[in-house]
């Protein structure tokens, strides 16, 4: 808030040479005035949101808008849909994911035209990198590069919802528990849904197995696509394998935390929380040609042969595109 006051507002006085100090002075004074009004308000027996609003009256405009938004959220006046998706929150954290997208992982996204701009669709992607960063980057690529951007919803490994904060942030940015019921309901509501059929097997695989797609579960995602007649969009992600090169596991600790795996990487748990910072590999995301499922009809979901055939087709497409993009990317970290 203070920084906001410094950069955007306040009368400018003094010569160029004296500006930094003067501006800092204005900022500090603005903050002081804000705190004074806030305290006066609270002492006068006003509730916190009201007191904050009064305090904000003394601030420059940019900061005032920020405070107004914060007060509104404090009063609970914001929207969440029935899944708990909070668009305002998603916009708020966008700069962070944008930084990861542009600067940290330097993502190149191709084939965005294959993502339908409206109506239901199921994005099927390969999964890697311990934490669901790949899901957030797929979302960013659609928000950044798609002509009609929209927030995809993604099915996240269940145990992430046991974790404090992570569970809250996930649901606010569009994550749901990986359950077929959720996928069905989301698709029936014409959402864009991302799934990772490899699940834990993909996210927790060793570094030496990188970019080798694991088994695609039992093909549940194909059944869902068939039942809802949603097109399948195979999506290949390259780069996520290098962010946490997993060299081993500590099964004892994973049992302690109830997590499916407790990874050991060159930096984790050696460096503690710092080891959770993902390595800055270069990423590529390719959305492939959609597979139309409407021609089979919803009854085809019970046809095991067809389900396996489609599942295998999607898997092979992704595997092939992963190899192509690996070649196109070149060295992992440059």
């Amino acid at each position: 808030m203070t920084r906001e006051a410094r950069t955007e507002g306040g009368p400018r006085f003094g010569g160029d040479g004296a500006r930094p100090e003067a501006e800092a002075g204005v900022g500090a004074r603005g903050a002081l005035a804000f705190m004074r009004r806030l305290r006066e308000g609270l002492e006068a027996g006003v509730e916190l949101p009201e007191a904050l609003a009064r305090g904000a009256a003394g601030l420059p405009r940019g900061a005032r808008e920020r405070v107004a938004a914060a007060v509104r959220r404090l009063e609970g006046e914001y929207q969440e849909d029935e899944w708990g998706f909070d668009e305002e929150f998603a916009d708020l954290v966008e700069p962070f994911f944008g930084f990861l997208y542009d600067r940290w992982w330097r993502v190149t996204a191709t084939g965005l035209g294959n993502v339908p701009s409206h109506g239901r669709a199921l994005l099927v992607a390969n999964h890697a990198g311990i934490l669901p960063w790949d899901g957030t980057m797929i979302a960013m690529s659609i928000l950044r590069g798609h002509p009609l951007p929209r927030h995809p919803r993604f099915l996240v490994l269940n145990w992430a919802f046991d974790l404090p904060w992570i569970s809250t942030v996930l649901r606010k940015v569009g994550g749901v528990v990986a359950s077929p019921y959720n996928a069905l309901r989301l698709l029936e509501q014409d959402h864009l849904v991302a799934v990772f059929p490899e699940g834990v097997k993909g996210a927790g695989k060793d570094f030496k197995d990188r970019y080798r797609l694991q088994r695609f579960g039992r093909g549940g995602f194909v059944e869902i696509a068939l039942r809802t007649r949603a097109p399948l969009v195979p999506t290949a992600v390259v780069g996520s394998e290098e962010i946490y090169p997993k060299v081993g596991e500590l099964p004892l600790l994973s049992r302690l935390f109830g997590a499916p795996y407790f990874p050991v990487t060159p930096t984790f748990p050696l460096l503690g929380p710092l080891g959770a910072v993902p390595l800055p590999s270069r990423w590529r995301i390719e959305f492939c040609e959609p597979i139309d499922t409407s021609e089979y009809g919803p009854d085809a979901a019970a046809d095991r042969g067809l389900v396996f055939e489609l599942s295998e087709r999607v898997r092979e497409t992704i595997q092939q595109k992963v190899y192509e993009n690996l070649v196109a990317r070149g060295p992992a970290f440059l």
Binding site: E82, P164, R171, R185
Partner: protein, 330 residues
């Protein structure tokens, strides 16, 4: 055709007495009986009050004499009242339901049973699908005593309706109700001066407004359907958002300390969270209400969010927590 004859258990509660009042004003009902040991919360005109304990076998003699064709079972306790032990709550819920069914076995006239059950039967689970539909009761093992009780009650009624194909049993699975006139766990929780939450958790809750809770019961009495029906307002609300809408400050508590803290607060007489409610505060729960809307044909007027807003609007006059006042009065 003669009007319907209805018996309401738990008529002493707010919803029970409102239901009795609504049915006695309906000319389609020629006889309304209310069973409870408590006095009704509202004044009733022509309801025949039967003062008996539902746990007692004597109701097997009383109910057949009334000749009712419809039984509304509204005595499933979600929150132990003052001076009620968990044991007594279990007895009322399970033994009470059994005695009621025994009484229904004895009376030939019963054609419809509507039960005000609980969506607690699904549990509160971090890995649960975001919306339970009526078929999903067995996705997770029951984890709390109340959940086991509700599952057991549902089992009894299911068995009963299988034995008596002529009787329609409607099991209404209610999400927690909220409203200015109600004294429920959720309203108690929201009237605390500082509302404790689990640090780092902000689950989705789904609620039903007290008016809709009553109207859903009336709708089910008018149009009973076989089997379970979820009853809840549309949409969900994040716990933090709900507390903020109610104008309360939150106090995030480290999950490991939440149970002990609640225990201490219980001993001080400040609050009493059931294990069920604690799980709800940590993991939340949502249900699918398609069946309520399409089969029963009931559309709740309030969504979850508007129910909370209505509650906090009507509560606005007395922001100072009643609980705090109680403590001060001691």
């Amino acid at each position: 055709m003669a009007g319907r004859r209805v018996l309401i258990t738990g008529v002493g509660s707010y919803v029970g007495s409102c239901l009795a009042r609504s049915l006695e004003r309906d000319p389609g009902f020629e006889y309304v009986a209310g069973l409870d040991t408590r006095k009704p919360a509202r004044d009733l005109e022509r309801t025949d009050l039967i003062e008996a304990d539902i746990r007692n076998a004597v109701i097997s003699k009383l109910i057949p004499n009334t000749g009712v064709d419809t039984v509304v079972h509204n005595q499933i306790v979600r929150r132990p009242g003052p001076g009620m032990s968990p044991r007594a709550m279990h007895d009322i819920n399970v033994i009470g339901s059994l005695q009621l069914l025994a009484a229904c076995e004895k009376s030939d006239s019963v054609r419809t049973i509507v039960i005000r059950g609980s969506a607690g039967v699904y549990g509160s689970e971090p890995h649960a699908p975001q919306f339970f539909d009526e078929e999903m009761t067995r996705l997770f093992p029951p984890r709390t005593r109340f959940q086991r009780d509700v599952a057991e009650i549902e089992n009894y009624f299911e068995t009963y309706s299988r034995r008596h194909p002529g009787v329609t049993c409607t099991m209404l699975r209610y999400q927690p109700a909220i409203g200015p006139s109600l004294d429920s766990q959720i309203t108690r929780y929201l009237s605390l001066p500082v509302v404790p939450t689990y640090l780092g958790f902000d689950p989705r809750l789904q609620l039903i407004h007290e008016d809709d809770a009553l109207d859903a019961l009336v709708a089910a009495v008018h149009k009973p359907v076989r089997g379970a029906v979820n009853v809840a307002g549309e949409g969900t609300v994040g716990l933090t958002r709900m507390v903020r809408l109610a104008g309360r400050p939150t106090l995030p508590v480290v999950p490991a300390l939440f149970g002990p803290t609640a225990g201490v607060a219980k001993r001080l007489g400040l609050l009493d969270f059931s294990e069920d409610f604690r799980r709800l505060l940590r993991h939340g729960r949502g249900v699918d209400t398609t069946r309520l809307r399409e089969t029963v044909g009931f559309h709740p007027r309030h969504s979850t969010v508007s129910a909370v807003q209505d509650y906090s609007r009507k509560q606005g006059g007395r922001r100072i927590a009643p609980v705090l006042r109680q403590v001060m009065a001691r």
